[in-house]
């Protein structure tokens, strides 16, 4: 090996190991990864796409996205053996943010299509939102979210939602924000120590979404 190429490899590895602003983005074949990675890049983070457990950069935060159906997301996570990795990392204390179905996956189980087990990191389950003529299901669009004051301070809080199912927490104290939707109170973000989740799509929520992501990244 020439000195030049040796140095090149050395620089490359140090780039991966030492760069402070890497973030692990779980990439298990569900959509939406493009937009969230662009938002993270905008915030000066580099995305490390985790397709299999060995891809993970240790001691870096993890984002678990999710779109489509809960059973399909769960199936794909399991197929790539990422479910065990996520449980291990969460228990170790690595900050983890689940987005949309990524948040729902943190729960014990979901009733979407068929009862499917989640990661069991947060007590509770996922159930369908009840609808009426004005508050339709799926809940699609921008909603004004109410945050716990200490959790997130932002001027306006308009976030974009696309979902038909909501989480039901065993312990309500993990809820950090909510929206009222007809007769439903929908928890829109949660935190249990190092484990975070949001039902809305921060990567699709303009400036407010960027601020929310920033909060997780700055934690």
């Amino acid at each position: 090996m020439s000195l030049k190429s040796f140095l090149k490899i050395k620089i490359l590895t140090s780039d991966i190991k030492l760069k402070k602003n890497y973030i692990n983005l779980i990439d298990y074949g569900v959509g939406n990864i493009f937009s969230i990675s662009k938002s993270l890049e905008y915030l000066n983070f580099k995305c490390n796409f985790v397709k299999k457990p060995s891809d993970l950069i240790e001691n870096k935060k993890i984002i678990l996205p999710g779109v489509g159906s809960f059973p399909n997301c769960k199936k794909l996570l399991k197929k790539n053996q990422l479910n065990k990795l996520l449980i291990k990392e969460a228990k170790k204390g690595t900050p983890l943010l689940g987005v949309c179905i990524g948040m729902q996956l943190l729960m014990d189980y979901s009733l979407e299509i068929k009862k499917t087990k989640g990661l069991g990191l947060i007590g509770g389950f996922v159930k369908k939102i009840s609808n009426d003529k004005i508050n339709k299901v799926p809940n699609i669009g921008w909603r004004n979210v109410t945050f716990k004051k200490k959790f997130f301070e932002n001027k306006k809080n308009f976030f974009y939602f696309v979902h038909s199912y909501k989480i039901q927490l065993d312990d309500k104290s993990f809820q950090t924000s909510y929206i009222k939707y007809g007769d439903n109170i929908i928890p829109t973000s949660i935190q249990k120590k190092n484990i975070f989740g949001c039902q809305f799509h921060p990567e699709k929520s303009g400036k407010d979404g960027i601020n929310f992501l920033k909060k997780f990244l700055d934690e």
Binding site: G31, N32, I33, F34, S35, K38, S39, V67, G68, S69, N72, N131, K133, I134, N135, K136, P138, I140, G141, W142, R143, N144, K156, F158, Y160, V162, H163, S164, H201, E203, K204, S205, G206, K207, G209, I210
Partner: protein
């Protein structure tokens, strides 16, 4: 309008190659500008959503999707819906991978309604928009479903069609009035009033908006959740900021 009803403002961008184009009644194309520039401009003006529709159905082309869509979605941090020539599940998946949130289908769904079910099972019904082009039958108060940019009459009654797409799992309807499209004469209110009897997913009205008052009028329909606008924005009749200020002052529940 009830105060707790939400309302969305969507900019509709008809694209051909990399350009935004605009037509009247789907005839006579006119180039407006680069699609990515327009999307960014509306994003910066606080638009709630972007709806790209490819006029020449190039979305089956993987290279086009990669080259165009990724660039067009990169700096847009609001939801993006994409339609135009999507024929199967793989194309839809490819489009979502490039940064879009929803896909809109019309022609392929008419030819094979089960495609809606297939798509909604796979990517979730919230990501499947049934795009409908409706044209009034001259003889009576019924509308028929058109395909191929309002050129081809399928002879299907719109009420029957909407029942079908909802049953198959479409998560949203985007209904364009072929007669009003590009005319700026106001929305076709009768059409949406008729549809509101059977619609139970979000519905977006499109075609005919000429002034802010037109939007105020259509927003009174309980089933209409938003409007998709094109010429009024492209030709600077009013700006999205202005529009939002107007609705905010009227105590509407909108994102501002």
């Amino acid at each position: 309008m009830k105060k707790d009803k939400n309302f969305r403002f969507i900019s509709r961008l008809d694209i051909k190659d990399q350009h935004v184009i605009k037509s009247i009644n789907f005839e006579g194309l006119r180039k407006v500008g680069l699609a990515k520039d327009y999307a960014l401009k509306y994003y910066n003006e606080n638009v709630d959503e972007i709806f790209y529709i490819d006029a020449v159905s190039s979305l089956f082309d993987k290279t086009f999707v990669r080259n165009f869509l990724q660039m067009a979605c990169e700096r847009i941090r609001v939801p993006v819906t994409v339609g135009g020539g999507i024929k199967n599940v793989d194309q839809a998946k490819n489009i979502l991978k490039s940064g879009a949130d929803k896909i809109a289908i019309n022609t392929a769904a008419v030819k094979n309604p089960d495609l809606i079910k297939k798509l909604s099972d796979l990517i979730g019904s919230q990501s499947v928009v049934s795009y409908i082009e409706a044209k009034k039958k001259e003889s009576n108060d019924t509308w028929e479903v058109y395909i191929n940019n309002g050129k081809e009459n399928t002879g299907i009654d719109i009420m029957r069609w909407v029942e079908i797409v909802q049953k198959k799992g479409a998560g949203e309807l985007l209904v364009t009035s072929v007669d009003r499209e590009g005319t700026e004469k106001g929305f076709e209110y009768d059409l949406y009033n008729k549809l509101s009897k059977i619609v139970d997913v979000p519905m977006i009205a499109n075609g005919g908006c000429g002034k802010i008052k037109d939007i105020l009028e259509i927003s009174k329909n309980i089933s209409v959740d938003g409007v998709a606008l094109s010429s009024v924005l492209h030709f600077d009749k009013f700006k999205i900021n202005e529009l939002k200020k107007f609705f905010k002052n009227k105590n509407f529940n909108i994102r501002y």
